[in-house]
């Protein structure tokens, strides 16, 4: 939930205003330099956004001294030599806030005004060749990327060619390739999010073929683990969140239950290497692009996730902000209250963008094998809604004629007067002029899910089961009647015997038997009617299905079949009313019988008699309804509009078009960031004027074009990146100084690999994977984070939402579900405590120690086994052989630990060696090299 405010940056910088140095009047400083040093920076910060290339309020520009002298509607802004008569000074020093410039934020400080005045007084000398601000429309990111020529280089990989050209220009010498073990662990963690096993490490170390590494890369990209690893990355960017609001109540307010189907779609799509263009279309508009396709409509979880029950204004706001940031790297949100201060985006264009989403509502569809969730409940003030038990959540266009109005300062309470609603559209600077929206006619199954074969089949099966059960019950009832008849006949036969006969029944026994027979007959009547009712319900279902086929698929006489369905439902309703009558008869008889011996039962008799009378009246009414001529019948599911506006589809296609200058660049930048530890554009969600310029613009463009020409398939880009020399470089300098360090200590030019800390999920998954305990089941409902330290499932499947996530993950900088275009990476003591004291590392260390020891023991003597254990442990946990020094330290440690444990608990001395080994594994999980990608 974000909002951009007027002149945010203006305010952020005004704190430094008083720091402006005083004007230096020494002759050594040329007057034009005074302007450039003391005046222009103030104007740039405070004035250019309204009086520059982007906007020229009052026809005035202040971005060059010449423009200042020329002035605007009100004439020149300054009068050289006379500050007191200069309008610029008059306006910035006005005491009346309505007259004072700038209109927002703090006024200019006295030293700032003094600097401007000093320059004017000295004659307002203009510098030579001063260049005006560039036209914001010509900003690099707003022009489509063109594949640049790859610099001549021996490297096969164009990435290296581009980087080498820059390194050569800067005189920077890159490092060589990392050792094989380091490289293997790096590429495993990057592509699949878990380290290699010891066998995989050994195989790779033994494979001397030239393409051994490439072979590994291909295998990893084919692994389903790839989709999970990169799915989590994209879940950050696309703000995946399970539902939240007030979970404790429970009350669903943000996102929605079962949005995990979108997460599974992400993983699946990446594993299938679905084109990124297709993914965008499906996330924004799968319901319009491929209506009826339930496997892909869940992708609209991207929009569902922004849903906010209490306030749809906010849903719209988040849709605009995060669609534009995620796919376009555009801060559209800054134009919510006013025109964008840096980019050529007007407030009207903001609202045009919003109009794409205006018709939206949520829908919860039934899924096979689970009871239907019922229709989506719209919010009623102060009511809480718990999560649905099952269902498929998605969006659809509900309000086809929804209008979007502009709000003064973005406040929905203040609709702009006299301003007609805006049409959906995209910013002009990005080619919005030619934008076209075409409504989409939906296939019947898409707007009426009741046609889906599985719903019909399940309904039919339910009806058949009910009927069959009713028949069985009836058969039993019939047997009970027969038995009761036999019993009574038997008693009667004996009753004709003389009074003295021993087995002559008592009068009470006879009465009881008669009553039992009556009860059995009454029950039979109920069950008989239940059978009739179930049969009628089944017939009604079939009639509804026939009528549906006629209505939605043109199969037969629609009105006749609708009438038949209506009649069949009425028949079933009548049968059901009759069933209630028969039940009421039974309870009435029972109540009357009870009252005959107990006066206290009288009120119950009255009550049951009343119920019986009501039931009879209802049955009469139900029978009477059969005479009606209505054609209405109950649908098998909610029915939604048969048409969708096509607005989102048009938007999605525009975003995913090769002509869009931003989409591919933003995507490859995200991928690059996650392979190289630093983005080419360091503001991945802001490619506008206030974002950072790319460090390697040509490389960025080349990769963007490559992505598009590879059919937007990401695996090709991953392969290109991780097989580059740049990716494969060493990260360690060893002990020696390196000349490149002095030139580029921040590694801006990629002369070495960056080391990075694992993301939270990778830490947890890797502990499990190293111990051989990771459960590789893919997908499914969100898991309970409380199980996080004992469950063996992969981390991305645990619930994570605005109200919380697994505390272990939080400590390792897990994604903020509301905003995470780039992960942070902290180092702090609570991480150490989590790795030292948690069940996760403790239990897995014990398991792993057991496994490794089983392999290493008995190699030869005890001390060689111990050494073998240490060697295997390093390979298993850190995916590299231990150094000699490390092995020595480890053996010392084992001896010391075993000794101390035995001394501390002599009765447990027999276990001391095993325990010491467990703590060694545990210590390796706490090694900095474990959480670090080298």
């Amino acid at each position: 939930m974000k909002i951009c405010w007027i002149g945010c940056l203006l305010m952020a910088v005004c704190g430094m205003a008083h720091a402006e140095p005083p004007v230096d009047n020494s002759p050594a400083v040329r007057l034009a330099d005074v302007y450039l040093r003391d005046v222009k920076p103030v104007l740039r910060r405070r004035c250019f956004s309204c009086h520059g290339a982007l906007k020229q309020e009052s026809d005035l520009r202040l971005d060059t001294a010449a423009f200042i002298l020329r002035g605007g509607f009100d004439g020149p802004a300054v009068e050289p030599g006379n500050p007191a008569a200069s309008r610029l000074i008059e306006r910035v020093s006005a005491t009346d806030p309505s007259q004072r410039m700038p209109p927002e934020g703090a006024p200019l400080t006295a030293p700032e005004v003094a600097a401007i005045a000093g320059w004017i007084k000295a004659g307002a000398i203009t510098p030579d060749n001063e260049k005006p601000q560039d036209d914001p429309r010509s900003h690099w990111a707003f022009r489509a990327p063109v594949r640049p020529r790859v610099p001549a280089d021996r490297a096969a990989n164009p990435i290296d060619a581009f980087l080498a050209a820059r390194q050569a220009a800067e005189g920077i010498e890159p490092l060589g390739e990392a050792d094989k073990a380091t490289l293997l662990r790096r590429v495993y963690l990057d592509l699949v999010g878990v380290p290699p096993t010891r066998d995989e490490l050994r195989d790779f170390l033994a494979d001397t073929a030239p393409a051994a590494y490439e072979k590994v890369v291909d295998r990893l990209l084919d692994s389903p683990r790839y989709g999970e690893r990169w799915g989590r990355h994209w879940m950050d960017v696309w703000r995946y969140s399970d539902w939240y609001g007030r979970r404790a109540v429970p009350d669903v307010m943000n996102s929605y239950p079962h949005v995990w189907r979108w997460r599974d779609w992400i993983v699946r799509s990446l594993n299938e290497d679905k084109g990124y263009d297709r993914m965008i279309v499906e996330m924004l508009a799968a319901d319009e692009a491929s209506p009826g396709d339930d496997n892909n409509v869940v992708a609209t979880g991207f929009l569902v996730r922004n849903w906010f029950k209490w306030n749809y204004e906010n849903w719209m706001k988040d849709n605009v902000e995060h669609t534009s940031k995620a796919f376009l790297g555009l801060t559209m949100n800054c134009a919510h209250c006013h025109n964008h201060k840096y980019d050529p985006i007007t407030q009207e264009e903001y609202f045009r963008f919003r109009a794409f989403f205006e018709p939206l509502e949520l829908r919860q569809d039934r899924v096979a094998g689970r009871a239907g969730p019922g229709p989506f409940q719209k919010y009623v003030y102060a009511q809480s809604y718990g999560p649905i038990a099952a269902g498929l959540v998605r969006v659809f266009d509900e309000k086809l004629d929804a209008q979007t109005f502009m709000y003064v300062k973005g406040d929905s309470r203040n609709r702009m007067e006299g301003k007609p609603p805006v049409e959906p559209g995209v910013p002009n600077v990005l080619g919005g002029a030619e934008f076209l929206v075409t409504p989409v006619e939906l296939p019947a199954e898409a707007y009426y899910p009741g046609l889906k074969p599985f719903i019909r089949a399940e309904e039919q099966a339910n009806a058949a089961a009910e009927l069959s059960e009713a028949r069985q019950t009836l058969a039993k009832a019939q047997e009970l009647v027969a038995a009761a008849e036999r019993r009574l006949a038997d008693l009667r036969a004996h009753a004709v015997q003389p009074v003295t006969a021993q087995n002559r029944p008592t009068r009470e026994a006879l009465v009881q038997a008669e009553q039992a027979l009556l009860d059995a007959r009454l029950t039979y009547r109920v069950d008989e009617q239940h059978t009739a009712q179930a049969a009628a319900r089944g017939r009604a279902l079939e009639a509804r299905i026939l009528a549906d086929d006629a209505l939605y698929r043109g199969a037969g006489d629609a009105s006749g079949l609708a009438y038949a369905a209506s009649q069949a439902e009425k028949q079933a309703a009548w049968e059901e009313a009759e069933l209630r009558v028969r039940r009421a008869e039974r309870t009435t008889v029972a109540a009357e019988r009870k009252a005959a011996t107990d006066a206290a039962g009288k009120p119950e008799v009255e009550k049951t008699q009343k119920e019986l009378a009501d039931a009879r009246a209802a049955a009469d009414a139900a029978r009477g309804a059969l005479a009606g001529t209505s054609n209405t019948y109950t649908a098998l599911s909610p029915v939604y509009p048969a048409r969708s506006t096509g607005r989102r589809l048009a938007l999605a296609r525009w975003i995913a078009s090769p002509k869009n200058p931003l989409t591919a660049r933003v995507a490859v930048n995200h991928i690059w960031l996650r392979h190289f530890g630093r983005a080419l554009v360091e503001t991945p969600a802001n490619f506008g004027h206030s974002g950072k310029a790319p460090s390697h613009p040509e490389l960025l463009d080349w990769l963007a074009v490559e992505l598009m020409e590879q059919g937007w398939r990401m695996k090709a880009i991953h392969r290109l990146m991780v097989t580059s020399r740049a990716y494969r470089r060493r990260s360690n300098l060893g002990a020696t100084e390196h000349p490149s360090l002095a030139k580029d200590r921040d590694n801006r030019f990629y002369w070495r690999a960056n080391f990075r800390r694992m993301e939270a999920e990778v830490v947890r998954d890797s502990v499990l994977a190293c111990a051989g305990e990771l459960d590789t089941t893919l997908g499914g409902e969100e898991l309970d984070p409380a199980q996080g330290l004992v469950s063996r499932r992969r981390t991305l499947y645990f619930a994570s939402h605005g109200e919380g996530k697994m505390p272990f993950l939080d400590l390792f900088d897990a994604a903020d579900v509301c905003d995470c275009y780039e992960r942070a990476s902290s180092v702090r003591p609570q991480q150490a405590l989590a790795l030292v004291n948690s069940d996760l590392t403790l239990a897995n260390s014990r398991r792993l120690a057991e496994k490794v020891w089983t392999e290493s023991r008995g190699v030869s003597d005890a001390s060689s086994s111990q050494a073998q254990f240490v060697r295997c442990a390093f390979e298993q946990v850190l995916s590299r052989p231990g150094t000699e020094e490390e092995l020595r330290a480890s053996l010392d440690y084992l001896a010391q630990q075993e000794h101390d444990l035995a001394a501390a608990e002599p009765e447990q001395a027999g276990n001391a060696a095993q325990r010491a080994r467990e703590t060694l594994i545990h210590a390796l999980f706490n090694h900095n090299d474990f959480v670090t990608i080298r």
């Binding site: 939930m1 909002i3 951009c4 405010w5 945010c8 305010m11 005004c14 704190g15 430094m16 720091a19 934020g105 007030r246 404790a248 306030n311 749809y312 204004e313 003030y381 309470r413 530890g677 630093r678 503001t683 990260s731 002990a735 390196h738 360090l741 200590r745 990075r756 800390r757 109200e803 505390p807 272990f808 400590l811 900088d813 903020d816 509301c818 942070a824 990476s825 902290s826 180092v827 702090r828 003591p829 609570q830 405590l833 989590a834 030292v836 004291n837 069940d839 490390e886 330290a889 480890s890 440690y893 630990q897 101390d900 501390a904 608990e905 210590a923 706490n926 900095n928 090299d929 959480v931």
Partner: protein, 510 residues
């Protein structure tokens, strides 16, 4: 990739310009030998009262702070008490006798302008649910009496006799307002932003970010409290400052003082000590291989700190080390009404004593003060729970000489309406509704006036009219007393508004 450290910045023994691998290997290893003391260096300088940057110097907007106060601080740390649900200002510190006179009348029926029809009514409130909450109701008389208390005769309600007894040490701000008319205002009080807007770091996290530690064995920012509703976490999140600046939840259960903070059952002390030493040895071996890896250096320190944290937290939170007399002062003795909150505040004092910068004490259940009905009963009860412990805290700090360097803030998210709340469910009207337009908070301690009342609401207690203050003015004031200027704490790429910075309330400064 952005990397953050346990402190706001790389350890302070790192020469400027690091990381750059310029250190020779030997120098690096020797430096590691400094071990833990290095981390506390900045703090020790700060403790010595050295304020490096004067206000006249060019401020480094967007640069990570160096852990030292930006100008001479008046206080070292903060105990920030929060009462959740909305405390009625009208029944605690802001008496409005006119309410008794107009009881039963609508706002329109008074001789005063209807406060709901003034432009500031709309400006200062924004609904989370998509429409305004209209209150058409009758004025409710005061539910409790007031007396002039203390030497200065400040009026405090009869529900707060103990606080009344120390009112001469308090600085009461009666002119607060906020803009959310629902309980999102609680988070707004800590972040400065309406819940519908972009979220910001909380006040505690800014202080953690801005100032170096005074005790390397304890977290900078602590949360003390219990809650069932996880949204309470929003009061101590750090957002873009990074989780290392979020409040660390400490528990008064000595068996489990902080998350993952206890040696697992069955692991012996010697066993864990050996392991920590071994981890340290392995990491130092790796450090020779990666001499320019500042993350590794920070991790080595983080293990030292972790070990100390685990050792010192239980001692810090062990209240049995306090005398019976002290415990009684906080109402911990046998009185279940005050014991729970008394313990929390006593623990907060112990944390402040040991140098924790900011302790957020959650002195209520979530929403406890939200008296839509039966305000008389519920507010009297809640007042009874906090009155003695809070007064005890202030008295205890004062007698220990800590009140000069510790700031106590006692706040709530909004006040309560001068009118009765009447709804379809509750036609009788025995409570007051949410009221963002005017409410009271109080402060006490280092650098603040004592026995002072600042600002005022109108005659009905509706709008804050005299010196109105948005919630971030309290933030600005507290930051100022700690020697920080919020404008100089800005983070690059994260834009803040004027409203986020707030304005220092000069009139409350001593």
């Amino acid at each position: 990739m952005k990397t953050y450290y346990a402190g706001a910045h790389p350890p302070s023994d790192v020469p400027s310009g690091y990381p750059c691998g310029r250190l020779a290997r030997r120098a690096f290893l020797a430096d590691l030998g400094l071990g833990f003391t290095g981390l506390a260096l900045g703090a020790m300088l700060e403790r010595g009262g050295i304020a490096r940057a004067s206000e006249a110097e060019e401020p480094h907007v967007g640069e990570a702070p160096d852990g030292r106060a930006q100008f001479a601080p008046r206080a070292k740390n903060v105990i920030w008490v929060f009462l959740s649900g909305g405390v009625s200002h009208l029944e605690t510190f802001d008496p409005k006798p006119l309410l008794n006179q107009y009881a039963g009348k609508t706002y329109d029926e008074t001789t005063l302008p209807n406060p709901q029809k003034l432009p500031i009514y709309r400006e200062r409130s924004r609904s989370v649910v998509g429409f305004d909450r209209e209150v058409i109701s009758k004025i409710m008389p005061l539910q409790v009496g007031y007396q002039k208390r203390g030497g200065l005769g400040c009026e405090v309600s009869d529900w707060l006799p103990h606080l009344g007894g120390i009112v001469d040490d308090l600085c009461i701000v009666r002119s607060m307002y906020t803009t959310d008319n629902d309980h999102g205002a609680e988070f707004q009080f800590h972040t400065g932003r309406h819940v519908l807007d972009e979220q910001q770091p909380t006040i505690g996290s800014w202080i953690s970010y801005g100032l170096g530690t005074l005790n390397e064995n304890l977290p900078q920012f602590v949360f003390l409290g219990q809650y069932k509703d996880p949204r309470v976490k929003k009061d101590f999140e750090a957002h873009y400052l990074g989780p290392q600046h979020a409040g660390v939840e400490l528990s008064l259960d000595p068996q489990n003082p902080l998350p993952f903070g206890v040696r697992p059952a069955g692991v012996l002390p010697v066993e864990q000590r050996n392991e920590f030493a071994f981890i340290d040895r392995l990491n130092r071996l790796a450090a020779a291989e990666y001499p320019d890896d500042d993350q590794l250096r920070a991790r080595i320190r983080s293990y030292e700190l972790a070990y100390r944290l685990q050792m010192s937290a239980p001692e810090t939170l062990d209240l049995s080390r306090e005398t019976q007399e002290t415990q009684r002062l906080y109402g911990i003795d046998n009185d279940e009404a005050t014991a729970v909150y008394g313990r929390r505040l006593l623990a907060a004092r112990r944390l402040a004593e040991r140098g924790v910068r900011f302790t957020l004490v959650y002195l209520s259940d979530y929403g406890e003060w939200d008296s839509h009905t039966n305000i008389k009963e519920f507010h009297a009860r809640s007042c009874g729970r906090v009155d003695k412990p809070l007064a005890g805290l202030v008295s205890d700090l004062k007698r220990r000489g800590m009140l000069d360097e510790t700031i106590v803030v006692c706040a709530t998210e909004f006040g309560r309406t001068p009118a009765l709340e009447v709804t379809s469910l509750n036609k009788a009207g025995t409570g007051r509704d949410h009221h963002p337009h005017g409410f009271t908070v109080w402060l006490a301690g280092g650098g603040l006036k004592r026995g002072h009342v600042h600002g005022a609401t109108d005659e009905l207690g509706f709008h804050a009219v005299e010196h109105p203050h948005y919630v971030t003015d309290i933030h600005a004031t507290v930051l100022h007393l700690l020697g920080l200027d919020p404008r100089r704490l800005a983070v690059p790429g994260r834009q803040r508004l004027d409203m986020d910075f707030g304005r220092v309330i000069d009139d409350v400064l001593a």
